[in-house]
Structures are given as C-alpha cells and as structure tokens.
Symmetry: C2
Subunit: 179 residues, 2 copies
C-alpha cells in the first residue's frame, strides 16, 4: 500500500479520528460516503441481503484504504456498510477527494494505482469464487492475509469466504486432524 504521506497528500483537509470497536462508519443507501485510511485497527465492508444475512466484501487493516469508491465515482448511494472491528485510528477523507474530475495529475496517478490494485484483488476473488472449493478459498485467504485470522472472528472469515460458520468450522477441523 502507498505510505501515509502519499495518501495524506490527496486531501489536506483529512482528519485523524479515533473510533471504537463496533462503530458504524457508513450505512448502505447513505450519500455521505467517506474514505478511511487505517493507521491502526481494523475495518470491514459488507452488504446485508434480503434475508438479513451479512456478506463481507473486504477487510482493511493497518496501511489499507477502505472506501466505497464505486458509489463515490458515480454519485450513487453507498452499496456497502462499513464498520469497525477493533478500536481504530483512521484518517478520514471527504468523498470529493476521490472524485476523478476534481483531482490533480499527481493525485490521479496515486489514485490510479490504488484502483488498479483493488481491481486486481477483485479479479482474483471472482475467479476464486467461481472455480475453487471452500477449502481452497480458505487456504488462499490464509496465504493472502496471514495476520487476519487472529484478529477476525471466524464467522466473519466464513462470511468473507462465502460459506457458513459451520462449514468453515468443519473445514478447520479436517485440516487440523489430518496433520
């Protein structure tokens, strides 16, 4: 991820803010979407389907940027909820800060890298979801985010992987037993 100084240069009005575990930073359907750079702590973004079930879209720990860039760029209401999984220290950016039309050239370049990187992550995620079993997705998750399993409740890892907590528990049991 870009370092903090580069990120900060995107918006001189950005402010540091402390948030408590459980605090909700963005609600689906809201227009006041912001972007959050995580200095310390852990965020997640997710949707809630018509049956009330949560589907975690991504996590953001130290050094990552959490934003509903898509809804910001197209001036649509937020599609995602964003909330806080640990007491965190965030740098908060105004949504205008990611509106492409308003950015300077050097900001655009940073932004383009962030976007390209994000797109690459999503591309791999789509391919995994289409082609790999729950067990393979879990193993890939462990490789990709080695620091998260100790900080994120298992039911949320399950949600990120697109399986139930029970299924993940069974997978973990099998992996542990066969070693």
């Amino acid at each position: 991820m870009e370092n903090l100084n580069e990120i900060l240069s995107l918006d001189s009005k950005a402010k540091t803010r402390m948030v408590k575990k459980g605090e909700i930073l963005q609600t689906e359907g809201s227009y006041s979407s912001l972007a959050f750079y995580v200095k310390k702590g852990l965020l997640r973004s997710y949707t809630i389907d018509e049956k009330g079930k949560e589907h975690i879209f991504m996590f953001a720990s130290e050094g990552w940027l959490m934003a509903d860039i898509e809804s910001q760029e197209f001036d649509q209401p937020a599609e995602l909820f964003i909330d806080c999984l640990e007491d965190s220290e965030l740098v908060v950016f105004d949504r205008s800060c990611f509106k492409i039309a308003t950015l300077t050239e050097s900001q655009l370049k940073k932004n383009a890298h962030l976007l390209a990187r994000r797109t690459a992550v999503l591309q791999r995620r789509v391919i995994m979801l289409m082609s790999a079993s729950a067990r393979k997705r879990y193993n890939r998750f462990l490789e990709t985010y080695p620091e998260l399993p100790d900080r994120v409740p298992q039911r949320m890892i399950a949600s990120y992987l697109g399986v139930t907590p029970q299924a993940l528990s069974t997978i973990r049991g099998k992996i542990a037993r066969q070693k």
Copy 2:
C-alpha cells in the same frame, strides 16, 4: 462507455484490426498483453483451472474495452486468455498505453473512470457470487447484458455464471415452463 474518439485519444499509435471468430488474442502467461476496444464483434476473457475447465471472467461487445489491466499494471504475465467469439473489428492498444507513468492528465482521468467502472462491476459480481443462487445470477445477467444471450453459446453463459451448462439448462427449463 466512453465513445470511440475519446478512447482513441489514449493512443495515437492504436491500429484497427480485423479478427476472425476463434482467434486467440492473449494467452495466460504471456507478457505481450494488449488492450482491445471492440468496434464490432464480441470478445471474452477467461482462465483455465487445473482440471482444464474454463471460467469466463468477462465479455466485451461493441463499445467495451477488453484488457488484463491487472497484469499490465503490475508488469506480470497475463492471468487471462482472451479470444474472439465473433468476427470482430478491434482497436488495438499497446500495453504501454495503460502504464500510468506515461499518461497525460486527460488520459489518466479516462483511465481512472474506466477502472472505477470496472471495479463497480466486479464489486457487484463478487456480491452476487457470494449471496445469490444460480437462478438469481442468471436473471441478473439477463437484465445486465440483454444483448448477449442471443450471441453467446449457453455453455459460456453458464461458465460466466459459475455453473455447469446442465444446471443452466435446467434453470432455463423451469423458467420457461412456469410462465
């Protein structure tokens, strides 16, 4: 989608090229990745898993840009195959044309906008794959790409949706019968 003139302004060296149905434009692992703007015709990008099964990542018909932006951005070998589903007329861009460092401000803005749009599509796709049944995904596909069902073989639609051709056939049978 941006109109052709805007796209063309990205690269004065871009050339128009006619390609035949079945022609392969990019192979997984190759470094010579290009980008293709579709003036006429239809392309697809896909991976092949360890069992030899194809997984279609996206389609691009008239007015869309097909590119393995991810591998271009990170100078990695291509992750995707790209081939041609109909005789097509394409504008071919060199990969350098999407290397961020070399672009002008107005090109960067178009590029960023294309990426944001692509990311939004992928975001919805991930959420669909995690939370919706095959039937719902098919209905969503029909709404989103109304022109494709008549041009794309069903087995490829099935591959895009992440189900087997048999499963899609059954879904279509049920939908037709219950009307």
